[in-house]
């Protein structure tokens, strides 16, 4: 979404900064970038390399102490505007990345990650431990992470794959897709969007997926032991394997698979709820790609 930004900024990005500082194990990286890009890569050296493209009016400071490497930019007069960072760090380094008009990408991290932006995307591959990714007006994408995973957007889609650990995903106007998930504690909630969960249902685990206007599709592997409760106001429920409904009321019913010691809660006010085996949901997913972006979202773009 920031291609325009990059083009506009192109003329001003006259200066290059390239600095490398040594770091100790356990130090973390903090980057705040008002607008532009933060791209993190990893290497095996015990050092942080910061390259930045920025206006000649701006100065990049890399402030390294034993615990933290702080990267920021300052304009000669007032705040700097657009900086594109490419930063190479030791894989295990913890990352705290933030910005406003900022796209954030991380590749190959084996450390904790916090990334927050307002108008920009967050795209992360890797992450171990607390992984918290937030945007207001941008997609949030995560793959190959493990730990306590917290994903949030407001107006866009959340996608995660090949992740393990505790997972929580929340948006208002967007779909949530969690696939190839290894978790005993997963939650995803949106208001206007679909939720897809394709992952494990572990004994003793808790899973909760909810939407207001949208469909839920959730995988239940064979031989799962899970109590399922389904709530909907104006939607249908179906499963691609046989289930025995119990405790059925008008809008709410439940059933048990196996010994039932995991809990799965499914709620959609207006949409359909579908249970299938892992992998079988992927087909549906492709189909939905086309209807993902709702119309008023597209109107937004035109209004610009």
């Amino acid at each position: 979404m920031l291609t325009t930004l990059a083009t506009l900024a192109g003329l001003a990005l006259a200066q290059q900064t390239d600095t490398t500082v040594p770091v100790r194990a356990g130090a973390r990286l903090e980057v705040n970038n008002f607008g532009g890009e933060i791209a993190i890569k990893t290497w095996s050296k015990s050092a942080v390399r910061v390259t930045a493209s920025h206006s000649s009016r701006d100065r990049i400071t890399v402030d390294a102490s034993e615990q933290v490497v702080r990267v920021k930019s300052e304009g000669r007069r007032g705040p700097s505007q657009v900086v594109d960072y490419e930063i190479t760090v030791p894989a295990a380094m913890a990352l705290a990345l933030s910005g406003v008009y900022t796209d954030i990408t991380v590749d190959g991290s084996q450390g904790e990650i916090t990334a927050e932006t307002v108008q920009g995307t967050v795209k992360v591959s890797g992450g171990v431990g607390n992984v918290s990714l937030k945007s207001v007006q941008g997609d949030v994408t995560l793959e190959k992470a493990r730990g306590r995973i917290d994903l949030s957007s407001v107006n866009e889609t959340i996608k995660a794959s090949q992740i393990s650990g505790d997972v929580s995903a929340e948006t208002v106007n967007g779909d949530i897709s969690l696939v190839q998930v290894e978790s005993s504690n997963a939650e995803a909630t949106t208001v206007n969007g679909d939720v897809l969960y394709d992952g494990t249902i572990k004994d003793g685990g808790r899973y909760r997926f909810s939407t207001h206007d949208g469909d839920l599709r959730v995988s239940v592997p064979e031989k799962s032991n899970v109590s399922v409760s389904v709530s909907t106001f104006d939607g249908d429920f179906n499963a691609c394997f046989p289930v025995q409904l119990t405790g059925k009321t008008k809008h709410r019913f439940s059933f048990t698979i196996g010994s039932g010691n995991a809990r799965l809660e499914l709620e959609s006010f207006n949409g359909d709820i579908r249970l299938c085996r892992p992998g079988q949901l992927a087909k549906d997913k492709d189909r939905d790609q086309h209807k993902n972006h709702d119309q008023d979202h597209d109107q937004d773009q035109e209004e610009e």
């Binding site: 406003v100 107006n155 208002v172 504690n185 909630t189 208001v191 106001f233 006010f269 610009e304």
Partner: protein
């Protein structure tokens, strides 16, 4: 070193000595090297006191506090956010609102009207959302109103595209809230609908909070 004067050094240091005594003491100080040394030490004690760092407790006290006030801690809530006590509370509010008309006794049990006067002298422009009937719950209404005020004050600092997106999403949540309300009107005892309404009300507060924080200036 005269004790009489030493005893007044702290007052002197704090500027609390009357003018006449101050002059006399200053004259004495010029003659008394010990007194000057003591004064300097006292000055350093005060400087040291002001420079002390605050340190958090070694054990996290929040879980115990959360238990006391009936809140589930963030960790536990990750496992099951619906246990968050705000949900039953809001659910109760939702049920009550369905069953009772506004202004009834139940509502008066909560925060009295006017308990939270407007904090600002500027007149906030009407913003973002319509006030639905569910906001007749005074605690909830007060929270929403207060957040909207923060947002109104900070709105000019927000990018217009961000404002539009937030308005749109608040609208989406409001629609979900209205859906849940009208469904509840027909089926007041439905626990799913109550929880759903409560969840969306909580979500609206959360989004308002996030927006207020943005408008306030977090980058």
């Amino acid at each position: 070193m005269s004790d009489t004067w030493t005893n007044r050094l702290s007052e002197y240091l704090d500027g609390e000595l009357p003018e006449s005594e101050r002059a006399t003491l200053e004259a004495h100080l010029r003659a008394c090297a010990d007194c000057r040394a003591t004064l300097e030490q006292l000055r350093r004690v005060v400087a040291r006191a002001q420079a002390l760092d605050d340190t958090p407790p070694t054990t996290d006290l929040w879980p115990a506090i959360a238990r006391h006030v009936g809140v589930v801690s963030l960790d536990a809530r990750r496992a099951r956010r619906r246990l968050s006590f705000t949900v039953p509370q809001l659910a109760a509010a939702a049920v009550a609102l369905t069953l009772l008309s506004a202004g009834s006794a139940w509502l008066l049990l909560r925060r009295p009207a006017g308990a939270r006067p407007s904090q600002s002298t500027t007149t906030p422009s009407p913003i973002l959302t319509n006030v639905g009937t569910y906001e007749a719950n005074p605690r909830y209404a007060a929270a929403v109103a207060s957040l909207e005020r923060v947002l109104a004050q900070g709105r000019s600092r927000l990018d217009t595209a961000t404002v539009r997106v937030i308005e749109k999403n608040l609208g989406i949540i409001d629609r979900a809230i209205r859906d849940a309300q009208s469904a509840l009107a027909a089926d007041p005892a439905n626990s799913y609908l109550n929880l759903h309404l409560a969840q969306e009300m909580r979500r609206k507060l959360e989004l308002l909070r996030q927006a207020a924080a943005l408008a306030g200036a977090r980058t």
